[in-house]
């Protein structure tokens, strides 16, 4: 028997029992469909997290103070009360760090912003003009403040779109108006482009930017800074930048070799990989659950193949009596099992693609169908066919011709 005969034979056997063949395939269809859809959902969310994170500026390096002293019981002080970062640190990095392109000190305060009768609780971020390039943020309207404004702590600010929407009437031009943040009058000189929500669901447009000196002196009355934002020269040099920043700041803070850092350096690349690996895990979990249903589908095939072998014992006996070898019978049933699983696999792929599409349309979840998941689940279901079809087929091939012929 050649492959064509075998396929023809198997195909006819399936057509003879269409409903049964379909129900057997259903396990595989659902299994393959589930693998593809689940992986598509997992990959889709990974992709969207990734793109959101890089919209925050994928080269961004964040330096925050941290305690290097353990206070009783091993607990460490939280970052908020720490005053280890100074403007001079930022200036030092700007001058000496070769892997950084832009550096901005930052301080922030929460408060109420008021424009005539309207007010809105928001936060103000004191930064240097370079902050906009670090965050890859553009102005929609107006101009940014300058280094001169920083030097003179001038009372100017840039507004995020959410703030504009909440304290100005629709159609009102905020540029040139004076607003008050915690009683400090600030002149609006620009409006920031909308950024939308970040990965964690925070509204990135609910913010006011001002020179950091203004926030330090006029609002918070402090001389330290809370954060240093910087840009690594490119995404791949984040690690080098981190090392360099660490060396420079340890020297500036006069830390001995045994002492812990009194700051932490975080890069966006690092954050991306952390979050990606979390969602990677999610993808693997989803795929595993879906994979189990594929195995269940395989067991369904095995079950039906056993039934089929028993039902067709007489046929097997007859085929053997006219010259079929054990191998011929084995192949006949194996090809039938594989045909069920592969046909199921093809329908399953179609089902998975459709389901992924529907999920992204109706649930507006991002989905990304990966080719590898199609190839993988297809391969798995072919293997499933072979694996679960083999034992029933082997049982058939070992029958004794005359015994099988006598079977009632």
């Amino acid at each position: 028997m050649n492959v064509l005969n075998l396929l023809q034979l198997a195909w006819r056997a399936l057509l003879r029992n269409k409903l049964r063949a379909f129900l057997t395939m259903l396990g595989i269809i659902i299994g393959v469909g589930a693998v593809i859809t689940m992986v598509a959902i997992g990959e889709g969310s990974k992709q969207s997290i990734r793109s959101q994170l890089s919209s925050m500026g994928s080269n961004m390096v964040t330096i925050r103070p941290s305690s290097n002293q353990t206070v009783g019981g091993g607990a460490r002080l939280g970052a908020s009360g720490l005053q280890t970062l100074k403007v001079t640190d930022a200036e030092l990095l700007k001058k000496q760090a070769t892997y950084l392109t832009a550096v901005s000190p930052a301080v922030s305060a929460n408060g109420q912003v008021i424009n005539s009768a309207k007010n809105w609780p928001t936060s103000i971020q004191g930064v240097s003009p370079e902050y906009l390039s670090i965050r890859d943020w553009k102005l929609k309207d107006g101009i940014s403040f300058s280094d001169e404004d920083v030097k003179t702590s001038s009372k100017v600010c840039l507004l995020g779109q959410t703030v504009v929407d909440n304290i100005f009437d629709p159609g009102e031009d905020p540029i040139g108006k004076t607003i008050r943040f915690d009683k400090i009058p600030l002149k609006v000189i620009g409006v920031l482009e909308e950024k939308g929500e970040n990965t964690f669901g925070q509204d990135q447009d609910d913010i006011i930017l001002a020179p950091y000196t203004t926030v330090q002196k006029r609002i918070l009355a402090i001389d330290f800074i809370q954060t240093i934002y910087a840009s690594a020269i490119d995404e791949n040099s984040s690690a080098l930048a981190t090392a360099e920043v660490t060396t420079l700041l340890r020297k500036a803070h006069k830390l001995q070799s045994g002492e812990d850092d009194d700051f932490t350096v975080r890069t966006q690349a690092e954050l991306i990989s952390t979050i990606s690996s979390t969602s990677e895990l999610l993808t693997v979990l989803l795929a595993a659950i879906a994979g189990i249903s594929l195995v269940v589908g395989g067991i369904g095939i095995m079950n039906i193949m056993y039934v089929s072998v028993t039902e067709r014992t007489k046929e097997i006996g007859l085929r053997m009596s006219i010259g079929a070898r054990g191998l011929d019978i084995l192949l006949q049933f194996l090809v039938e099992a594989i045909l069920i699983s592969i046909t199921g696999g093809i329908i399953g792929v179609a089902f998975g693609l459709t389901a992924s599409k529907l999920v992204s349309i109706f649930l507006s979840w991002p989905t990304l169908v990966s080719q590898s998941s199609i190839v993988l689940s297809f391969a798995v279901c072919a293997i499933t066919g072979v694996f679960f079809g083999y034992y029933p087929a082997q049982k058939a091939s070992r029958l004794d011709p005359i015994e099988a012929l006598r079977y009632e």
């Binding site: 006996g317 009596s321 010259g323 070898r325």
Partner: protein, 248 residues
């Protein structure tokens, strides 16, 4: 002297059924020469089918030897036996054993499927020829349940002929046929026999046995009579002698 195509020595076959043992064959010995047309006769339950199954390599004897074409079948592997059944033996079952829901043509093609030397095209033309030989040229695409018992039997005969075996083993191949069709089948077998095929034919009917060159009679699992037929009747002549009118 022609070569012995099959030889059996003291062949025994026992069936164990729980504590009881049924002794279907109790030491049968005889041989058949190439080109012989042997009928096996005997009453029901005398062991004819049991013996034919062993001759057809479908069953193994409990004891004794069976030499097919000089080869002791005992020493052959399952695959070699399958090959023998496919190439050398054409077997007609007492109960036809056609595949259900499979057309007469496809049933007839079946042995050729397991013969890689035969192409798809040749397979079909040979099957059609075999069916025409048993006068079923107009029933190619009928399913077994759309055929009469006699027609099914003829499909089974066509299937046994199709792979051009050197030996045809038939178990009551005319049991369900009317006189005319039986004679036609016998004429066909005689023709095949003249072309050199060895035929072993199980039957109950003495007038069918008259068409063969030798009759072996079994009783209770033993050979009780083994006799050459001095005057072999020609089935063709017998057919011609039958009244022509068929419309009763």
């Amino acid at each position: 002297m022609p070569a012995k195509i099959l030889e059996i020595h003291n062949l025994k076959r026992e069936f164990r059924m729980g504590s009881e043992t049924v002794r279907a064959l109790k030491g049968v010995s005889f041989s058949v020469e190439a080109g012989e047309f042997v009928t096996i006769m005997g009453s029901s339950g005398s062991g004819k089918t049991t013996m034919l199954n062993i001759l057809g390599c479908l069953d193994q004897p409990s004891d004794g030897d069976y030499l097919l074409d000089g080869v002791n079948v005992k020493q052959l592997s399952r695959n070699e036996l399958a090959r023998l059944r496919n190439r050398k033996i054409g077997f007609v079952f007492q109960s036809y054993n056609l595949l259900a829901r499979t057309s007469a043509l496809e049933n007839t093609e079946l042995p050729l499927l397991y013969n890689p030397g035969v192409s798809g095209k040749e397979r079909q033309s040979r099957a059609v020829k075999a069916l025409e030989a048993v006068k079923l040229g107009d029933r190619l695409h009928h399913l077994p349940n759309q055929l009469s018992g006699g027609q099914q039997q003829r499909v089974a005969i066509a299937r046994a002929l199709v792979n051009e075996p050197i030996m045809i083993l038939a178990d009551e191949a005319t049991g369900n046929l009317d006189t005319r069709t039986s004679y036609e089948i016998m004429a066909l077998l005689q023709e095949l026999n003249q072309q050199g095929k060895t035929i072993v034919f199980v039957t109950h009917e003495p007038d069918i046995a008259a068409f063969s060159s030798r009759t072996v009679t079994l009783k209770d699992g033993k050979v009780v009579k083994d006799m050459k037929n001095p005057a072999v009747k020609s089935a063709k002549d017998a057919l011609a002698a039958l009244p022509v009118n068929d419309d009763y």
